[in-house]
Amino acid sequence: MRGAAPSVLLVLALLASHAPALHGQRDMGRRAVEALDYPPIDFRPPVPDEWDVDGVPVLMIEDHGLPLVSVYARFRGGYGLFGREYYAAGTALPSQLRYGGTTELSPDSVDKALEYYAIQTSFGGAGEAISATMNTLVEHLPTAIELWGSVLARPAFDSTQVEIWRGRQLESVRRRGDDPGGLAFSEFNRLLYGDHPVGWEMDASDLSSERLSSQRLAEVHRRVVCRENLVLGLTGDVTWRDMRPLLETLVRKVPPCEGTLPPSPIPSIRDEPGVYLIERDLEQSVIVMAHTTDVHLADDPSYYSATIGNSILGGGGFSSRILSRVRTEEGFAYSASSLWTMPRRYDGLLGAITRTRPENTIPAIELILETMEGLRTAPPEAGEVQTAIERIVNGFVFNFDTPGRIVSRTMFYVAQDLPRDWLERYLEGVRRVTAAGIHDAFARHLRPADMMILIVGDPERIGREAIEALGPVTVLDVRR
């Protein structure tokens, strides 16, 4: 059945500028930039066709430019929907689908076949979903779909491959301290989210033979890789008529779900301002700071104001205040940015990240806090708001630059229960943001004095007294 897709005719004429043209003049520099006249773009982005195969939604854009086909699968379910005792198995599931063989083929045979036919696959997962993609030359499509479908739906979880994965993970645990940036982020998550899936960090007990085994993987697989959890996407040099029988065979390998997985728990996020120190003898400190906020992803003015506000604060690169002040003006850091996460179901974080040499650690933190305070106490300038909005509006066309991007995004909307025209609503919401709205968002939600500040670095070179002046200090004992 051909589904009813919402109209996505974009009013891309908004890309047109009405500055007067200076024909024939080949000036350059600022004056020439201001004089440019941009013609409107007449573009109707392709809209995915929506099909249904035995209850599984399929989104498809035909693209006959090159003899390639990509198939995308997204299953609701991941380690975050199970308890901690399933953390390792849930994390291992995507890679063990690929590496663990099938009920018909050994792991080695799967490797050989995929590599021989030059079929590219990727398997990944976050806490609440796993995804798999397959890209093949169209001439091998039936073979590729057959193989990929078996890998997804009929895995063997070969015990040797499980052992190899366990060994590599144990080594990752051992090497966790080698990368100060990665250490800072994982410890910050653990600090704030505690025993919630966002805060989990793999350790040796997760990797015990009881918690990570072929049986445990099969158990997680049965709960996740089932029909009601699945959304499929498709792009490439193929028609629905040719594709349909192949997908029917694929979907029929995936059994119906035994029940619905519960949503992941709502986290109780720690909110205890102060400095959290991981002492390391490093030439450069890593700084992560944040506090909680209750702005959520929604078609709501506060969400759009927060989005544009974050772009002005530090999410918009060189056009944002934090990078301009910390990097451009002071030369303190190569990278510095704000973060404002806005999950749909629970609270997010508002804060900043940077890295700088030990002696500049405290000045950089103070400068970031001062920059935050500036946006809390006064609205942003009109030019800043305009830049942040135009960045999204004029760059909007890049949301449609490949069929794969359009299909993947629409699959996400289907999985998240977002309206199909979410992107168009988002564009309209962003265009309506005002300086007053942003000021209101920061005044309500930004609390520079309440930041939890994590520093990985050398306290002797940073200065212990200066660290203590930022707030109560907790030294985190992170094992090597």
Partner: protein, 485 residues
């Protein structure tokens, strides 16, 4: 198994890449452009590649090509300023203070160094009053630009961005201005930014530290041994005038290649190229790199002690990417570590389970004789020595027996599929076109290289392993955990 895609010589059938309707244009000033219209979304990708990178540096000013790359985002005589004359008036004061500072540092005069650092910072603050910070970036950001950035490698510096295609002329306006009227404002704070980049990529990264030590040991004379990001002491000594003269020496349009790929009218783009970029005056001809790495006369070993778990790098000297052996060397790296069925992955990761992963590549650049390099980390309690020995055993087997035909077929099939996949993305294509024209003098060569790869035989691969991957020709770098950490 039969071969999936029978090899045919280039003359019989052009590859998908060679069939692309690329329009080459050479301007009177020597700048070479490749213009490629492609159907699809109304976007366009731009790549400008200057033939200058880490190899064009000398000890004392290492990192200058990369530092210059940063400075070219600082604007021009009109973009990025409120009063350029007032700004320029302060430059000589800052630069004089810096020159004195460099001498004071060499003399160990810490007090003077501190005083002059403060003086330079104060002068830069005075100049900042006249600066419109990051205006170049902001103009492009407002236009909807994606991925505005640049990268410096051993052999080239690439500037790239994507724009909605109705903003194509904007790119020409800004790029012509940048080529004609750059101003190296905020130099000293940007230099500090680059030192922070070095701290991030090298001084707090065990992998970065080991890589730097490995190249320095493998190349005793050729500039491939020097890090592109530069040494810290050199970064602190390079002056603004050094950067300006480097710019004049290497950034002439005759040393640039431009690739423009996307939803464009090639006639209009060519007209803009001639009108905007044509007037940029031709530069001098940059001096060639004349240093040649002498033949290695025995195994070299280097150890880095670091507060991190152990890892290993091995490199063998091999010819450049334009040498007749280059295709066979590329196939050799793929036989060694390209995929899960490759020899070293199978041995180290799947069978012996002594390493979490093993990777082979050719580098650090393709213009001059380079390294075939292998990196791997042991899984405790196994050691780098065990990993190293297993690698040598596999190489010896390959050198004695050569690869099997099915290994080569796998690689050939992947090359055939790769020759189609690699032309999917406009930006990726722009990079390939620019690099091919710059390296080989012909944009089609990168696509013909696929044919040469497919023509490589088992004997060729065996010869590569036997002739190049020898004990005498290798340099081994090992990261060992520092005692007491």
């Amino acid at each position: 198994m039969v071969s999936l895609l029978a090899y045919q010589p280039a003359s019989a059938q052009l590859s998908p890449g060679e069939r692309l309707p690329v329009r080459p244009v050479t301007l009177g000033n020597g700048m070479r452009l490749l213009i490629l219209p492609r159907p699809g979304a109304p976007t366009v990708s731009f790549v400008v590649q200057f033939g200058v990178g880490g190899v064009n540096e000398r000890l004392g000013s290492t990192g200058i090509a990369h530092l210059l790359e940063h400075m070219l985002f600082k604007g021009t005589t009109t973009v990025g300023t409120k009063d350029v004359d007032a700004e320029l008036g302060l430059f000589p004061l800052m630069d004089a203070a810096h020159d004195t500072l460099v001498h004071a540092r060499a003399a160990g005069d810490v007090a003077t160094v501190g005083r002059l650092d403060d003086r330079i910072a104060a002068l830069e603050d005075s100049a900042r009053v006249f600066v419109e910070a990051n205006e170049f970036d902001r103009i492009l950001t407002r236009a909807g630009a994606q991925g505005l950035n640049a990268t410096t490698s051993t052999g080239s510096t690439m500037y790239f961005v994507e724009l909605p295609s109705n903003r194509t002329e904007l790119w020409f306006v800004l790029e012509a201005d940048r080529m004609l009227n750059p101003v190296f404002r905020e130099y000293y704070s940007e230099r500090d930014v680059v030192t922070e980049e070095r701290r991030m990529r090298v001084e707090t990264s065990p992998g970065g530290m080991l890589y730097e030590a490995h190249l320095a040991a493998a190349f005793t004379m050729h500039p491939y041994g020097v890090p592109v990001v530069g040494y810290m002491s050199d970064l602190e000594a390079i002056s603004r005038s050094d950067v300006e003269s480097y710019y004049r020496r290497f950034y002439g349009p005759n040393n640039a290649v431009v690739a423009i790929v996307g939803d464009i009218d090639p006639d209009q783009v060519e007209r803009w190229a001639r009108e905007y970029l044509g007037p940029v005056p031709r530069g001098g001809t940059p001096a060639p790199v004349t240093s040649v790495e002498p033949k290695q006369l025995g195994e070299r070993r280097v150890v880095v002690e670091w507060d991190a778990e152990p890892s290993l790098r091995i490199g063998w000297h091999v010819p450049s990417g334009v040498h007749a052996d280059a295709p066979a060397l590329a196939i050799l790296t793929s036989v060694l570590t390209g995929g899960r069925t490759s020899r070293l992955h199978r041995r180290l990761v799947l069978e012996d389970q002594i390493s979490g992963g093993v990777f082979a590549s050719l580098g650090p650049g393709s213009r001059y004789p380079q390294l075939l390099q292998i990196s791997a980390s042991p899984l405790a309690p196994h050691t780098t020595q065990e990993v190293e020995l297993a690698i040598y055993e596999e190489i010896a087997r390959l050198a004695t027996d050569g690869p099997e035909e099915n290994e080569l077929e796998r690689v050939r099939n992947q090359i055939a599929a790769g020759s189609i996949r690699r032309i999917q993305s406009n930006l990726g294509l722009a990079f390939q076109l620019a690099e091919s024209l710059s390296l080989f003098g012909d944009w089609t060569e990168t696509f013909r290289f696929s044919d040469r790869l497919r023509a490589v035989t088992a004997d060729d691969v065996q010869r590569m392993a036997r002739d190049y991957l020898t004990q005498q020709n290798r340099t081994v770098a090992t990261l060992v955990k520092k005692e007491g950490t």
